[in-house]
Amino acid sequence: MTELLIDDIRKELDDGNVTSDELFNESIEKANKFQDVYNSFVTIMDKKEEVNSNSLLSGIPYALKDNISTKGILTTGSSNILKDYIPVYDATVYRKLKEAGAVLVGKTVLDELAMGGSGTTGHTGIVRNPWNKERSIGGSSSGSAASVALGIVPFSIGSDTGDSIRKPAAYGGIVGFKPTYGRVSRYGLFAFASSLDTVGVMARSIRDISYVMDIIKGHDDNDMTSLPDENIKYSDNLDNDVSGRKLFYIKEALENNSGNEELKRIIDNFYRTVDKARELGFEVEEVSFDKVLLEAVYPAYNVISCAEATSNNSNLTGITFGNRVEGSNINDIMIKTRTEGFSELIKRRFVIGSYVLQKENQDKLFLNACRVRRLIVDKMNELFKRYDGLILPSTEKIAPRFDEASDKLGDDYLILGNHLIIGNFGGFPSISIPSGFVNDMPISVNITGRAKEDALVLNMANKLEGILGFRGQVSKSE
């Protein structure tokens, strides 16, 4: 039953056909059954949290990314340095879900400290794609994506700094929503890059995403960057009329100069999706975007995210928490703790981040990246004066095989492959929606909208989802 949509599960619960205990047990059973092969979880709960609530989510099982603080429950960030860390406080998103009666099933595997996109760098092993276990699910919200795609839970919570919700959602054939920056409190989310980090939701329908968003969004006194409360429910606005809504796609992002067959099929699927959008009454136009800026997206992201990450993770020294490795003096402790605690990828990113912040490099590297970020965001905001959203394929490829998945920095400028980052640069709400299959693997399209207009983005996505026909999709793994 955990593979159903929330409305259906709700009905079963309310009709007394199933109890929340039975649902929890079913989730746990599935979680355990799939764990060996797919490795979605760092921790599977052995006890159900009992909270009484009348909310729609009461009794509904869900999974939480393991970089979100849960009091008394191991939270590792999928890093060795935190392999024994037990938080002493609850993240706001977790507290809100708990108060709404949602039932935590487990803490999901991520790329170490959310810094990666392959699902292969977590300290408990790789996460496999439920549609094909030889393939990656992407990351960093790898386990959150897999657990929803496997039907273990109807929804999960992830975090998104560059594309960490939307990409694994796309590779997993589910919906992934990165809300506007600050829409959901970051209090309790292990910081990767504070100016880009967002807490978001993964589910099998946009309606389910909206139900969860209605619970977790809102201002939080513990997070100064959280937005003021809005007086609307997203789930009440999903079916608003979209005719006359204007979308654009970026011409330069859809170039396929190499003639890659897989990309061609992805682009074909996209144009068919655009046609369907037009049937719904959307106006969709092609827009040309400064290619230099598009090519600058990833380099700027690399510099900004590494810089913020190196500072944000300076607290991981083993002194008051974390896997302290003893040493002869205080520096020795920190060095041994961090040397053993971080994997290679993390260290490389920290070194890059540290270099770009150094006094002599900061202007040319870090600040130039922040300057380019402004140019890109300004350009997007200018387009958002005329358009309600940007629509593009979520990814430039299907979920890669493990031998193709790499977290090493490449020197190719992937415009389509990196466009999701634009959503984080400007804090724009952005959602990935399943739109078809290529080589038996799911692919998606992504809509990015104006900052703070989460309701409209969910509304447009819901309409599109309705016509695309993949609502409620679960992988066929067994």
């Binding site: 993240a91 100064m224 960057t225 020294t317 008051t320």
Partner: protein
């Protein structure tokens, strides 16, 4: 060869007074070890800073009192370094946009007033406290995150004396504003000192040496004097000064090497992205501005120039804002400022010190105080009587005006008493005979005087006059 001139700059760190810490809600103040804590204070993952309004208000007060330009937007930066007393691995501070820039503090040097220019003052957070044992160290995080204000002067101070005058003036500004208790003995105020030497004709400053974390003003003085001496000797023997950080060792009486410029830490300052830019509305700034009291320097000069109070007394009166406020309230009821000042400095403070009291123990309200001074200025009572009234009021915890009435209605005038005594003599010739025959008659005569005046004469004065009159017989 011309002499070397010292050029000194000071960086003063001071903990601000508030209920809670700068970026978390845990207590700023006393507490059992490791109890004033929130997850942020120990750097737990996922925690976020939330800025304390009171810390901003206090730092803004200081900035305005230092005559600084203040920003329209509040911004914070990170200073990144690894140290066990810094749990987050960075200190939240203000690097690019301090709460105050380009200010000044006036001090009175022997050669006249001098403006000490302030480069900036910025709001940041304190670190944890470490105890160093023989083989290990222990950390208490209660202090981690306490609001800290760092005020940096330009290199414009030219002697240890000036440095101390500045430090005292700065500390008094903090005390006047009630922004901090500024107790050096509790580590609430800490000073970094930069010293360089140059020849009079040199345009450029010499190479500077920094001495960090000095905990008392007395030690600041020693450190500056000894550092000037050390650098002078090096330069005079043809050596060169290395740019370095040193630590002043009180036992050795000199600074010792810590690290050179090459080893200077790159703090990789960058914007704290968990704290958005916060606009300071005009109303917020003007509210703070309007709450500023008149400060020590201005008060002192008013006392000297307008009231004609002596320099030393003016210093004494303004050193403590409470005392200065008391004085000003008293004279607002019309008593003469000089007479009032004389009574406070010449009598009240001495009394307080002698009896280990504080100004808070003095129960004389300002209006009554003023009335007594006025009576004294009008010669209705003597200076001694005024002091007696105050003493009695304090000791017996009685109302000043009641005592004044009592004392004021007594006959204390010597000549008046002399007249009464002579009347008694002429009415009682037998007593005079007894006196002449060697009998002790003092008590008896006192009784007669009291009876005659219904006890209204001042016994002390009467005794003295009586002795004089008897001797004349």
């Amino acid at each position: 060869m011309s002499k070397y001139i010292p050029v000194i700059g000071l960086e003063v760190h001071c903990e601000l007074k508030s209920n809670s810490k700068n970026f978390s809600s845990s207590k700023n103040g006393d507490g059992e070890v490791n109890t004033n804590l929130c997850p942020l204070d120990i750097g737990y993952p996922g925690t976020l800073p939330v800025v304390n309004r009171e810390a901003v208000r206090k730092s803004l007060m200081v900035a305005l009192a230092l005559n600084c330009e203040v920003p329209q937007k509040l911004c914070f930066d990170r200073k990144n370094y690894y140290y066990p007393d810094l749990p987050k691995g960075y200190q939240i501070t203000q690097f690019g946009h301090p709460i105050g820039i380009h200010g000044y503090v006036m001090i009175d040097t022997e050669s006249g007033p001098k403006k000490i220019t302030i480069q900036d003052t910025h709001l940041e957070e304190d670190t944890a406290n470490m105890d160093h044992m023989s083989t290990y160290s222990l950390i208490d995080y209660n202090r981690a995150g306490v609001p800290l204000l760092e005020t940096v002067t330009d290199p414009c101070i030219s002697s240890a004396d000036e440095a101390i005058l500045y430090l005292e003036a700065y500390r008094n500004i903090l005390l006047y504003l009630d922004a901090s208790d500024a107790r050096a003995d509790l580590g609430q105020i800490r000073v970094d000192v930069n010293v360089s030497l140059k020849r009079e004709e040199d345009k450029e400053l010499g190479t500077r040496v920094e001495m960090k974390n000095i905990n008392s003003f007395k030690t600041v003085r020693e450190a500056i004097v000894s550092e000037i001496d050390r650098q002078t000797k090096i330069l005079e023997s043809g050596g060169i000064i290395e740019q370095e950080t040193r630590r002043y060792d009180e036992n050795l009486g000199t600074s010792v090497f810590m690290r050179s410029k090459v080893d200077a830490v790159d703090y990789k300052y960058y914007r704290e992205s968990n704290i958005p830019e916060i606009r300071l509305r005009d109303s917020f700034i003007s509210d703070v501005k309007n709450s500023l009291p008149i400060l020590e320097y201005e008060r002192r000069h008013k006392y000297i120039d307008v009231y004609g109070i002596g320099k030393v007394d003016a210093y004494t009166l303004t050193k403590d804002k409470k005392l200065s406020d008391y004085f000003e309230k008293i004279i607002s009821y019309g008593s003469n400022p000089v007479d009032t000042s004389n009574m406070i400095v010449g009598f009240l403070l001495g009394y307080i010190n002698k009896n280990y009291l504080s100004l808070d123990d003095i129960n004389i309200n300002e209006e009554d105080f003023s009335s007594i001074i006025k009576m004294m200025s009008d010669s209705k009572i003597s200076n001694k009587q005024a002091k007696d009234i105050f003493t009695k009021a304090i000791e017996d915890n009685k109302n000043v005006m009641d005592i004044a009435k009592e004392i004021g209605s007594q006959i204390s005038d010597k000549e008046e008493i002399r007249r009464i005594i002579n009347e008694v003599f002429s009415e009682n010739s037998k007593v005079i005979d007894d006196y002449k025959n060697g009998k002790n008659v003092n008590g008896f005569i006192m009784g007669l005087i009291m009876k005659k005046t219904s006890g209204k004469v001042n016994p002390g004065v009467t005794n003295i006059v009586l002795k004089e009159e008897l001797e004349k017989l």
